[in-house]
Subunit: 368 residues, 2 copies
Amino acid sequence: MRATCHPRTLPPTLPLSLSPLCTLPLSTPVHHAVVRALHWNADSRTLRILDQRLLPAEVVERELRTIDEVEAAIQSLAVRGAPAIGVAAALGLVASFAREAVPSRVALRAAIDRLAQARPTAVNLSWAMARMRRVVESAVGGAPLLDALAAEAECLLAEDESMCAAIGRHGAALIADGARVMTHCNAGTLATSGIGTALAPVYAAVAAGRRVEVIACETRPLLQGSRITAWELDRAGIPVTVCTDSMAAALMRAGRVDLVLVGADRIAANGDVANKIGTYALAVAASHHGLPMYVAAPSSTIDAQTPDGAAIPIEQRAADEVRRLGDRQLAPATVAVHNPAFDVTPAALVTAIVTDAGIVRPPYHFTQ
Amino acid sequence: MRATCHPRTLPPTLPLSLSPLCTLPLSTPVHHAVVRALHWNADSRTLRILDQRLLPAEVVERELRTIDEVEAAIQSLAVRGAPAIGVAAALGLVASFAREAVPSRVALRAAIDRLAQARPTAVNLSWAMARMRRVVESAVGGAPLLDALAAEAECLLAEDESMCAAIGRHGAALIADGARVMTHCNAGTLATSGIGTALAPVYAAVAAGRRVEVIACETRPLLQGSRITAWELDRAGIPVTVCTDSMAAALMRAGRVDLVLVGADRIAANGDVANKIGTYALAVAASHHGLPMYVAAPSSTIDAQTPDGAAIPIEQRAADEVRRLGDRQLAPATVAVHNPAFDVTPAALVTAIVTDAGIVRPPYHFTQ
């Protein structure tokens, strides 16, 4: 695992805004406003995140100092996106223990177990925590243990950036000049430590000089598409139009979409894809209209031990996420609600899967 | 036209809540809480509506006294639903001129023209205004003209109630005991003067003693499903579960939906159906999962002069309906937005159309 880590690609600091993309040469003005989900200060071992719950109305950074704060930030979706939460949990673990001279292995194990369970669906989180756990079990104790944990977490961060850049390089081949790309949720810079997963090919295609338009499905109930993807792309100077999730099929029928490109929270061995609720509806609609449905995700999202989508646990979230928005009551307070956070798109509807390793087409048979 | 009018079915007043259903025998406790979109007092010629923009947080009635108020109520969706806006425009016209001893035909024509254009997609509105216009052109002037207009508007109201009941009788045959019915937007008591269109078969099946569960898609951007359908059914004691529009396809795949039943704003001669944006996505998903897709609407919704869906004008609404909710910014303030109010479902995806005249199956060839 460590062989894939290239800490040299890690910039000393990642300001939350105006940060250059360090892993992808950008020839367009895009870079002037690319925003970041998290900011790690390697010297002080402090972690700041952009609180994505407040976007686009407010741009607020929060420092995460304790396991409670890290767990709450992940559970409340202040930091979100499968790759970003894995990195945030690892860096947050280090930040939480940074002020202890002799970190307790018992306390570290308990913290890792808690963070690993903060959200159930994305495999990246448990995968990142497994790597941190191996360090806890293998490294020398005392201050060297914290140094080893910091090195591992920084390695995860650097790998994540490299991964995004690689997805961008591979996926850009799928985006022709003038393409209108429909996406769902946010799988961009704010879902990762780099230039995103689903949006990485968009950034890369734009950097290569192609004209790309993005249609961002708003992604109810938490509106990551309209709040976050639209904000991120708008800041980056990439043309973006928001639609409600319910409009996607009609826009496809009207000939206004060339391809669908989404991220993934987990990909099973057979190519079934768990991603934000609503992805499956887009896949069904894309299939109906003969449009390609692409999934872009890091290799770490592929869980070869999960044979198919039926084996992926789907997080059920609170009813009030659907019934309320801020202080507005959108549905009667006691009415029953369905609120799965994810759905599973069967491999048969997935045209291709783009990872940092390249583009894979069906039939999918992922092995470890 | 007048031959179909049965003013005897018109109750003297329709209280906004606790009103009995006068056109359908109800054997269940459903009737105790069936709510109404509008309330016409025939003696004082006053029109009150339930302001549906405020549901479910607030239950507020508004009296509409002027053409400005009637037009604003229709345009702002305070009163909505194709059948209800036709009736509200007709009754509102009468109410607006009720205090004039000698109503001016010029002013009446201008008012009718304005109201006919208050919303473009639903055919019922222009159809109702055409009937009122005929009265203006044919009736004796002075007070008798207003009496004739009132009689015609009350006739429209009574016909609407009878129409709903008839749709319920026919459509109930499609709903088996234990059925789980997915619906979109609101085509219930709050979209009509009666027991609704899409929901009429549900009310009728429940009245016949069948157990029916409804899955209400929330229907972004204006949330008529979660705000209005869920509230209306909850009050009526019919089990209802809200889902986001993006969840519908996934619920179908999970085997949790037996049929889809929606209303229509306009049906073309070939059976293409214009209905609330998101209907087409449900039709595509229903087709993919082999589920029946039923459309229930009054005969007056069928526009035989419109050959197919491509000829139906689709209302484009303000971007801030998608970008904002109350005082919350859901997307960047200046980002581009798609916001068509309706979409067109091609006839090939419509399993059957239920009207007050019965159930029609493909191929559809509606004639005048």
